[in-house]
């Protein structure tokens, strides 16, 4: 068996590190550990991991701070671990360049899925013009969206949103990131734009818009395109 991706686990709780090591090694990951921010930065520089799992609350510095320092020299994907759903630090972390987040407690299945997405995005994506999710197909080259084979008519804004989601399929996108990308930097606080346009997108693409399965809301954070 070839050696899998290298992952650096940063958490001050030894029990969390131990359980992650067991689960990750069982899934063919090579695991490094760090118990605080300073050690994390050293380990990251030393082992050049493919992905980093970073706890938000570290004894020596905030997880966001570790992330900022790491981002000065590395683009390694980072998945943040946050403690509470209402914890808004994770939005800062995502805006500061984290790839995704998970709220403790989380299931290993979920973690592995996020790790896969993060790793996939860190590879230069092959220019694949046609992308499929659920029963929706989007042809980026022809700017054509079909659902169950029928053409779906999208406004330019809706299309821009969908294209952005597709480009980051599986990854969470914060409100600010989406607004900045589609509307421009001066619109980053206008979250209600998103409520309206995502509502429209769901009406056009979801089987049951009241219970969306493709374009899901991450409460207080942003949106995610679910691909699997």
């Amino acid at each position: 068996m070839t050696e899998g991706p290298h992952v650096l686990v940063v958490d001050d709780e030894i029990q969390i590190r131990r359980f992650l090591r067991i689960s990750l090694e069982a899934n063919n990951y090579r695991v490094y550990e760090a118990e605080n921010g300073a050690a994390a930065l050293t380990q990251a520089a030393l082992h050049r991991p493919d992905v980093i799992i970073l706890d938000m609350n570290l004894p020596d510095m905030a997880g966001v701070e570790v992330l900022r320092r790491l981002r000065e020299w590395a683009t390694t994907p980072v998945i943040m671990l946050s403690v509470r759903a209402a914890d808004m630090d994770k939005v800062d972390a995502l805006d500061a360049g984290a790839d995704d987040y998970l709220t403790k407690p989380f299931s290993t299945v979920e973690l592995l899925a996020r790790l896969r997405v993060a790793l996939r995005h860190s590879q230069p994506a092959p220019t694949e013009p046609v992308f499929t999710f659920g029963d929706v197909q989007i042809d980026l080259a022809r700017r054509l969206v079909t659902r169950k084979g029928e053409v779906v008519r999208l406004t330019p804004t809706e299309y821009a949103l969908l294209r952005l989601l597709v480009q980051h399929a599986g990854k969470v996108l914060t409100h600010r990131q989406i607004l900045k990308e589609v509307w421009g930097p001066q619109y980053v606080d206008e979250t209600h734009y998103l409520r309206v346009y995502f509502g429209q997108l769901r009406q056009k693409l979801e089987e049951n818009p009241a219970m969306p399965r493709l374009i899901v809301t991450e409460p207080g954070v942003g949106y995610r395109l679910v691909t699997d």
């Binding site: 509470r84 734009y193 509502g199």
Partner: protein, 901 residues
């Protein structure tokens, strides 16, 4: 009096003695090296004593000693630690002053402070050095100090009379009383003059002048006697204090009590000083009485009065005020009430003619009416002109001005001309009627313009009446005896009626002023009593004080026994860093300071402690809008105001404390319930996890695939349950602590519902859930995560308490400016008596299955209410129950625009 009684010490006195003893133990000890004049060797003696103490191992520092270049004195200073002096810049010159704060910080056992009577440079904390010494003593530091007899307040007059030198630097007598030890440094006058001649006292150029003036043999002998006597008196007192404290029978102190009458005359100061000296010699207590009459005082008189009353306080006396028209009667009444045995009054220099008419001068009448009370009449030879530089604020009183006299004249002239016309052309306007109309004019003038103008009017109108109307007209002669009597009567009546009316008016004004004062006090008392909370109280207090005194007001409160270094937001006066320092001093020393006081007078505002009998609850700062200082009356009123405010603040503080203790008890009760509730809730999943894990470790179970999967599932469920419990507890505590911060943003309710349903997918399972959202439901501004939490809790609840296959329905509608979210189940509903309680903390419907803390619904309601909404529950008549969330509908929908791509 039997001997038993005589042997029993007066309880009051014992108490005073005990207090003094207690105060002494905490306070530093004060030793005064006392001399008759400069050059007797006080500083030298002090340094010698300090050296002895140093060799005994006492921590001695030199706070401030001036050797005046005397070599032998300097030698004694050599091995003592000297505190650096504080440099104060004043009008271009740099003055070196004792650094009080440095000494307090250094906290030695003993500090040497030369020249107790010294006046500090402007910009120092205290005006006088003796105040610095008092603060050092208060801090528990022993002080050695020096002072000459001419600086003692009660001797200042005598010194001026003997030597002709006006002493400006005075030390209150109370400092001598306070001294634990007084050492007299005595030197025969000849010897002192010899030392002076040798240049040991002053520099050569000053020697001659000094020798011919202050240091004349006659002066020195008198000063020496004064110093010796003061010291002897003091020793005598100490002996007596000791004897009484130890219950040694001996000469009891006299039961004398002196009362000095204080008037707004500059001569009263001497009577006050005399009384203080006399009281001390008689070992009697004394107080000063001021009688307020309706007669208004001029600004200058007010100023002198304030100054005199200040002198009383400086000399350690108490001021008692009483109101009354008859000063003699009021004085005697006060004397009786206060058990005064002797009354001291100043001797008036000149006598009023009117006084004789009234039955003699005040002094004469006082002596006649005083019965068994002795009356001393002290001559005021020298006026005390040491008055403050600030004029007092004028009181609402009326001094007739030149203008008023002019007006009086004009009125009389106009009336006379009018009458002349009337008399000439209208036959029935007789000259008698003219007289009466003139009289009316005089009365009106008296009423509106005062006594002086009324007298003028009486005179002028009488003369003009005689000249113009009485036969023979246009002469000053009067023809008939009847007319002469009429004329004289007119004059007398005009005079008396005018005076009476004017006095009535003055009294009315005084009464009005008093009434205004009472009204102000009543308003303050009433407003503060009805104030609902501390902020309200302070707001009212600041407003009232500001209005009555025409001042800006700041109030500083305390927290945990410390003065907060910021003014209360209701304050109208902003404070600088320096002012805050003054306020802090006021708080710590519980004494007024700042403007109009001797402590930190350079401050831009006047500060007073808000003290109640028990403690100091804060500090008030006042800055008058007009230039000038507070008059005595105003100061008394301010003091009354402030004590009233202090009491109300105290009351509020006590209320708050009581409220807090109730809250504390309530939260204790809740926490007990919480612990009982969650210990069970915690134990169940923990037991499951521990049990299942141990089974998984058992080799027999491990081999059984089915059992292993089932056990793992159980662990998962238990962990979820634990997690939910923790989430609930955290939400609860955030809601309770009021730390809940809503992150409100525009949300699509169907989106919120969708997320909640997705999160509960496993709990809901195959149960049908119908979601209907009306077309007109707008985006609402809520905290997405918290609203989702509410829906999750409600849905979870519905799933837990209704049969697994029954349907749920969520509908969103708009009604009456609200967005209403209904969650309907088709379960058995809830008993009406339980319905009222389901939102209570820890309430669980009796008979429901185990599991659940009774927190979920309570949290839901808290979260909805935090959004300004309501959460209600009701049984539908056709069966099942509905939870209704109502949230405010935004007034205006947000604008949405297409991206410009």
């Amino acid at each position: 009096m039997n001997s038993m009684e005589a042997d029993r010490p007066d309880p009051d006195r014992t108490l005073t003695e005990t207090r003094r003893e207690e105060a002494r133990q905490q306070r530093g000890r004060l030793k005064i090296f006392f001399g008759m004049a400069a050059g007797v060797g006080k500083t030298y003696a002090m340094l010698q004593a300090a050296q002895t103490r140093r060799t005994e191992g006492v921590d001695v520092v030199v706070g401030y000693v001036d050797t005046h270049g005397r070599a032998e004195t300097e030698a004694l200073l050599a091995n003592l630690e000297q505190m650096p002096r504080r440099q104060i810049e004043y009008r271009g010159a740099v003055l070196a002053e004792m650094d009080l704060d440095a000494i307090l910080a250094r906290a030695p056992q003993l500090v040497l402070v030369d020249e107790l009577a010294h006046t500090n440079a402007p910009g120092s904390r205290h005006v006088k050095r003796y105040q610095d010494v008092l603060e050092l003593l208060d801090a528990g530091i022993d002080v050695y100090t020096t002072v000459n007899v001419q600086h003692i307040e009660s001797r200042a007059d005598t010194v001026r009379q003997i030597t002709g030198v006006v002493v400006h630097e005075k030390v209150p007598d109370s400092l001598l009383d306070m001294a634990d030890e007084i050492e007299l440094i005595d030197l025969p006058p000849d010897e002192l003059r010899k030392r002076l001649a040798e240049g040991k006292v002053y520099t050569p150029e000053r020697v001659e002048a000094a020798a011919n003036h202050f240091f004349r043999i006659g002066n020195l002998t008198a000063l020496r006697e004064m110093a010796l006597r003061l010291t002897a008196e003091h020793v005598d007192h100490q002996l007596q204090d000791y004897m009484e404290a130890k219950r040694i029978a001996g000469p009891w102190k006299s039961g004398e009590r002196l009362m000095v009458a204080v008037s707004p005359s500059p001569y009263a100061a001497e009577a006050i000083r005399w009384t203080r000296r006399m009281a001390y010699n008689l070992e009697a207590s004394w107080f000063a009485a001021f009688i307020e009459t309706s007669a208004g005082l001029s600004a200058a008189q007010r100023e002198t009065l304030t100054h005199n009353l200040e002198l009383v306080r400086r000399l350690g006396g108490e001021v008692v005020t009483a109101a009354g028209e008859d000063i003699v009667e009021a004085l005697l009444r006060l004397a009786q009430q206060r058990n005064a045995t002797q009354i001291v009054v100043g001797k008036p220099l000149h006598r009023h003619v009117l006084e004789r008419l009234r039955g003699g001068s005040l002094v004469d009448r006082l002596i006649r009416a005083s019965a068994d009370i002795d009356v001393y009449v002290v001559s005021g030879r020298t006026a005390d002109h040491e008055t403050g530089a600030h004029p007092s604020l004028p009181l609402p009183q009326r001094q007739s001005t030149l203008r008023d006299y002019a007006w009086a004249f004009v009125v009389v002239a106009v009336v006379t001309i009018g009458l002349l016309a009337a008399h000439s052309f209208v036959p029935w306007v007789s000259y008698q009627a003219v007289g009466l109309i003139d009289l009316l004019a005089v009365l009106l003038i008296a009423f509106y313009l005062g006594r002086g103008p009324a007298l003028l009017a009486a005179l002028v109108s009488a003369v003009s009446w005689n000249f113009l109307f009485i036969q023979p007209r246009f002469t000053f002669a009067i023809a008939t005896l009847e007319d002469i009597i009429l004329f004289l009567l007119y004059f007398v009546i005009a005079l008396f009626a005018g005076t009476l009316t004017a006095r009535l008016r003055t009294r009315e004004r005084q009464a009005q002023y008093n009434a205004d004062r009472m009204t102000a006090l009543y308003t303050l008392a009433h407003e503060t009593a009805t104030a609902v909370d501390m902020d309200d109280v302070l707001h009212t207090a600041i407003e009232q004080i500001g209005a009555v005194f025409d001042a800006e007001v700041a109030i500083l409160l305390t927290q945990d026994g410390q003065l907060l270094r910021r003014v209360h937001p209701a304050s109208t006066l902003a404070l600088t860093e320096n002012d805050l320092g003054v306020a802090l001093w006021v708080f710590e020393n519980n004494k007024p300071a700042g403007q109009f006081t001797a402590t930190l007078p350079q401050a831009t505002a006047h500060f007073r402690p808000l003290s109640t009998p028990g403690r100091t609850v804060g500090v008030v700062g006042i800055r008058l809008q007009q230039a000038g200082r507070l008059s005595f009356d105003q100061e008394v009123l301010l003091e009354t105001f402030i004590s009233q405010v202090a009491l109300v603040i105290e009351r509020e503080l006590l209320d708050e404390a009581a409220e807090q203790s109730v809250m504390l008890r309530e939260s204790e009760r809740l926490y007990t319930t919480l612990l009982n509730s969650i210990s069970h809730e915690l134990r169940t999943p923990i037991a499951t996890i521990a049990g299942a894990a141990s089974s998984l470790l058992d080799p027999n179970t491990v081999l059984n695939d089915q059992a292993r999967t089932a056990l793992t599932g159980e662990i998962q469920t238990a962990a979820d349950r634990l997690n939910r419990l923790v989430e609930n507890l955290l939400d609860m505590s955030r809601l309770d602590a009021g730390r809940l911060q809503l992150k409100q943003e525009w949300c699509d309710i169907s989106d919120v519902i969708g997320v909640a349903l997705r999160r509960l997918a496993t709990v809901i399972g195959d149960r049908p859930v119908a979601v209907t959202v009306a077309e007109d439901v707008p985006l609402i501004k809520v905290d997405f995560v918290l609203l989702e939490q509410v829906l999750v809790n409600l849905l979870d609840n519905a799933c837990a308490y209704t049969p697994p296959d029954t349907a749920l329905a969520i509908s969103v509608t708009v009604e009456e400016g609200q967005v209403r979210i209904d969650l309907a189940d088709h379960g058995p509903g809830i008993a009406p008596e339980a319905l009222a309680h389901i939102f209570d903390k820890f309430y669980r419907v009796p008979g429901t299955a185990a599991g659940g803390t009774g927190l979920g619904l309570s949290i839901c309601r808290g979260l909805v209410e935090a959004h300004g909404g309501t959460l209600t529950a009701w049984n539908r008549p056709e069966g099942g129950m509905t939870f209704s969330i109502r949230l405010p509908k935004p007034v205006q929908a947000p604008v949405v625009q297409e991206a410009s791509l």
